[in-house]
Structure formats: C-alpha cells, structure tokens
Amino acid sequence: MFLHVLINGLVLGVFYALAALGFSLIYSASGLMTFVQGDFFMLGAFIAYTLFVILKLPFVIAFAVTLGLLFVVGLLTHKVVIGPLLRRGSGAIHIVLATIGLAYFFENFAMLAWGTEVYNFPSVFGDEAIQMAGLSIVPEKLWVVFIAVICMLMLHFFMTRTKMGTAMRAASQNRVAAGVLGVNVPMTEGLTWAIAAMIAAVGGVLLAPIYGVYAMMGVRISLKGFAAAVVGGYGNMYGAMAGGILFGLLETFSSTYISSEFKDITTFAALLIVLFYLPTGIFKSPIIEQA
C-alpha cells in the first residue's frame, strides 16, 4: 500500500517537476512569472491525442511532432506577446496577466477545436499491473517516471554541456554582459520559452494516459507547478524539480492518509509557509529583481 502511494506520489511529483522546470527556466532566463505553462501541457496532450489516437500515427512520431509543435508555440508566444510587452516596458504584473489572458485564449481554443469532454488516451506502455519483485506495479507509471527523468537529464546536459545552453545560462545571469559578449539575448529568451513549452508537452503527453485529456487540465498544473517551483527555489532548475516531486508526494500522501478534500489545502498551506519563511525556496535561489 505504502509503495503504491509512493509510486503515485512520484508520478504526480514528476509532472509537477516538469511543470516547475518550465517555470523555473523562464524565471531564470527573464525574471518573469508565467501562467500559461499548464496550457502548454494541455495542448501537448491534445496534439498527441490527435496524432496518436485520431490519426493513428506511431507513438514515437506523435511524440516527436508534438514536441516540435509546442516548441514553435513557445517560440511564438515569446515573439508575439512577451517580447513586445517587455519592449514596451511592461512590469512583471502585466506579463503575468498577459499569460493569464493567453491561458484563457488557449483553453477556449481547445474547447472549440476538440470539444469539452474528457478524452481517453490509451496507455502506451501497458496499464495492466504486472508483478515485479513481488509487487504489482503498473508499467505505464514506471515508464512515465523514467522518461521524465531522462528528459530532465537531457535538459541538464543541454544547459551545461552545449554552447547554446551555456549561452542561455549566461544571458539569464547577466543580460548586458552576455549581450556584450555576443550572445543574442532575445533569441535565448525566446529559446527558453520554446524549451519550456516543449517540456510542458512532454509532461502533457505522459500525463494523458493517466489522467485523461480535457481542455481545463492545465489550470491546476499551472498553479501547482508554479508553487512547486517557488517551494523548490524559483530560479534553480534542480530545486524546481525537487520541489515538484516534493509537492507530488505531499499531495498524494495527504490525500491518502489525511483526506482527499484537504490535500490541496495542505499543499497551499505548505506553499505559504515556505513563502513566508524561506522566500528564496528550500534550495536557496537568488531573487531576481525585475530590471
């Protein structure tokens, strides 16, 4: 029983970690909050659904195309909305509201394009519990955790070992200096949004078989992922991931052992406690002042 709760907690945690990762990337790159990550999750899930279930394309192709499309969506979001607003000197609050407006737009768009029902995304890796080492485990869940971890590792590799990744990290620490050294800062910012959207797509595709696909599925994720990112340490990629997993575990355990109605209160209360006493997050990240 405990193991099941643990696994469910990890699965949920991994989703929150992917969501948190997206927020964290964007915050470290530009010091901005965003509320549209959850909707990128949702779009990823829907596009994958369309390709995999409706058009019956092989899963791997559906996955790759979904990631590609969301990459473009993220890039466009930055180019069309965020970048221009920043150039007009908009403050943080304006950007937050703009992303909320975008979220409403995408949610409505999804409802118009796909409808308002909850769609069933068939399990890719097998949703029948199998026996492993004397315990019954659902392969889908293990695969989900596995793939998510691989993605996080790949992101880590990209950020630390490639030239582009290093340029992005440089730009996020000091825009002016990076610019002077030849880094195309607006492009790296756009790339950050694109990657964040792509990460959300991964989460959406992995989430779909377990929780179903519906237009409003992103709303809770946005909030919780954002909260997880802050709890873990907002500008800190690894803190965000840890925060996400912590949140997933916290929510699942309090849902099982306390009551499912109060699971959300527990997580938000934890959020408030962290914000009041550890504003830089558990893993201590620098607070970026909006220029």
């Binding site: 909320i100 409802m111 109605e261 938000f268």
Partner: protein, 328 residues
C-alpha cells in the same frame, strides 16, 4: 500623484465638482428612469459592488504598490461571513455586513503581516495561494459552509420597517455605499497616509529613510483593501441571496485586477471606469457564446499592450505631454 484632473480635485475646481454632482443625481434617478428594466438595475448593482471591491484593491496595488491576485478571497470572506451569520444565527443583516467587512479586514491584517516580507512575484504567489486556500476552505467546509452547494436563502437587508428585497430598493443601499467608499478613498489618498502609501510604492528605501514604517503601512493598505472587498462581498450576498465557492475563484481575482488596470491603477476614478467598461464588455461577450473566453483573453492582452497605465493613466499621459510641451 500628479493626477491632474482626477486626484484631489484641486485642478478641477468648480467644473469637476459640478460634473460629479450631475453624475450622482443621474445615478439616484436611474431606477426611476429605468423602472421596468430590472436586469439593467441588477447590472448597475453589480457594478456598484465591484467598484467598491476594486477601489479597495487599488489602494493595495495602485497606491501602496503591492501585487494582490487574491482579492476574491476577501470578497468571499465578507460574503460568507455575512451569509452564515444571518442564515445560521439570525443576526440582523446590517450587523452581519459590518461583521463581514471587519472579518475580511482582520484576515487581511493576518495575511499582510508576513506578506510584507516578500515582494513582486512572491507576493503575487502568496496572494494567489491565499485566494486558493479561502476557496478550498469554503468548498470543503461540509455542512457548515454548505460545501459546493453554498449557502441559500440568505435574507435581504432590513432597516427598521424597510426591507430591501427588490433590486430597485437595494440599488440605493449599494449606491450610498459606493459614494461613501469613494469619498473615504479620496480622503485617504490626499493625506499623510496616502502619501506614505505612494512613497512606499515608488521608493521603499527612501520612504523608510523618512520615517515611514513599511510594515505598518503595507499592512494598513492591505487591511483597507480587504475591508472594501469584504463589504462588497457582504453586499453581494444580500443581493442575490445565495453564495457558493465557484464565484470566488482565481478567475475572479484576475477579473478584479484587470478592471483596475484597465481603468487606471492609482487613481480615484480609474477603478470606476475600468469596472463599468469591463462589466459592459462581459455583458456584450455573452453574445459570443463559446468564444467568450478567447475574446476575453485577447482583450486582456490588448489592454496590456496598448494601455498599460489604463484609461485614466493614458489620458493623464496625454495631458502631461501637453503640459511639458507648452510654455513653462
């Protein structure tokens, strides 16, 4: 704030005061003129309630510079407190309304005290978290709060032998509250306290260097904003005689903030104009059916693009340009 026309009325003088008087008279006559259009009167009632809530939010955000995306939480507390006290305990509605506003203010103080330690994004998140927790508490409050079904059969306001159970009569109650709320706000912003709020917004370091206790004033601003929201919530509860959690979500908080930004934060009339425009807009959007949310989302973005300082701010900006360009 160098709010040329709409701040303390200094520049206004007679013209401005006459215009306001005319407006007040028109508003008092509205239910008579619109006698059969009950729905319009109802919409005017909701506009009045929102104007109160948004004026409070403006004191928190527009004047003391604190981001709050949790105003719906205080709105909910006022509504539920008034509803529960009158329904479950039979307390007279006038008292429950006051209690609702005060309850919201007290919670505002409790939340604000630690909230003053954080800024910008973190404060936004704290206020969002607060709003979510309030919603969750009412949603999961079981029989006490009515859970998802909410509280029904909320009694109307009774003053002596007068019962305000119709929109036309209740409208006057709300109108009086709006006038009082705006007068109090006008008084506050043109005072030592108002200057302290604005100093904190524009330069917290310098304001502390001149004796402004940041924590005390930030908490005060929050408490005022919460009181206004609580009052609005209580008025709301006794307008539609029903409250449920789905009214008090993050979307509602976003709506409040959008109204303030649209009209112009940090001004007396900005939240009023923003409220009127956005409520009219939402009524118009009903006609868009399934496209409502998308259009709303696009409009939010357009506002942010073209009028980041809101309508009042935009007008002021034009005046300022004219003033600087002219003979000095």
């Amino acid at each position: 704030m160098a709010d040329l026309q709409l701040h303390s009325g200094q520049k206004n003088g007679r013209a401005g005061r006459a215009a306001i008087l005319l407006l007040v008279v028109a508003l008092f006559l509205a239910p008579v003129v619109l006698h059969s259009h009950l729905y319009v009167i109802f919409v005017l009632c909701t506009i009045g309630i929102y104007v109160i809530v948004n004026s409070g939010l403006d004191i928190v955000y527009g004047y003391s510079g604190q981001i709050s995306i949790g105003q719906a939480g205080f709105y909910a507390i006022g509504a539920y407190a008034s509803a529960l006290l009158s329904v479950r305990l039979g307390v007279p509605v006038l008292l429950t309304m006051i209690a609702g506003a005060l309850a919201a203010a007290v919670v505002g103080i409790i939340i604000a005290a630690p909230a003053t330690r954080v800024e910008h994004h973190f404060l936004a998140l704290v206020t969002i978290g607060f709003g979510e927790i309030v919603w969750l508490v009412f949603q999961n409050g079981g029989a006490f709060t009515g859970g998802a079904d909410g509280v029904v059969a909320i009694p109307p306001l009774k003053l002596g032998s007068l019962e305000f159970s119709g929109y036309r009569s209740y409208y006057y109650v709300i109108l009086v509250c709006v006038i009082l709320a705006l007068m109090v706000k006008a008084s506050i912003i043109d005072s030592r306290i108002g200057r302290a709020f604005m100093a904190i917004k524009y330069n917290p370091q310098a304001s502390a260097a001149f004796g402004v206790d940041l924590v005390k004033y930030k908490v005060t601003a929050f408490a005022i904003g919460a009181f206004y929201a609580g009052l609005g919530g209580a008025l709301y509860a006794h307008l539609i005689w029903f409250v449920s959690p789905e009214t008090f979500t993050l979307n509602q908080s976003v709506l409040f903030l959008t109204m303030v930004l649209l009209g112009g934060a940090g001004t007396l009339w900005g939240p009023v104009i923003g409220t009127v425009l956005l409520i009219v807009l939402l009524e118009v959007l009903q006609g868009f059916g399934t496209y409502q949310m998308a259009v709303y989302g696009v409009i939010i973005m357009l506002i942010l693009f073209f009028m980041p300082k809101g309508i009042v701010g935009g007008i002021e900006g034009m005046f300022r340009k004219l003033k600087v360009a002219g003979p000095v």
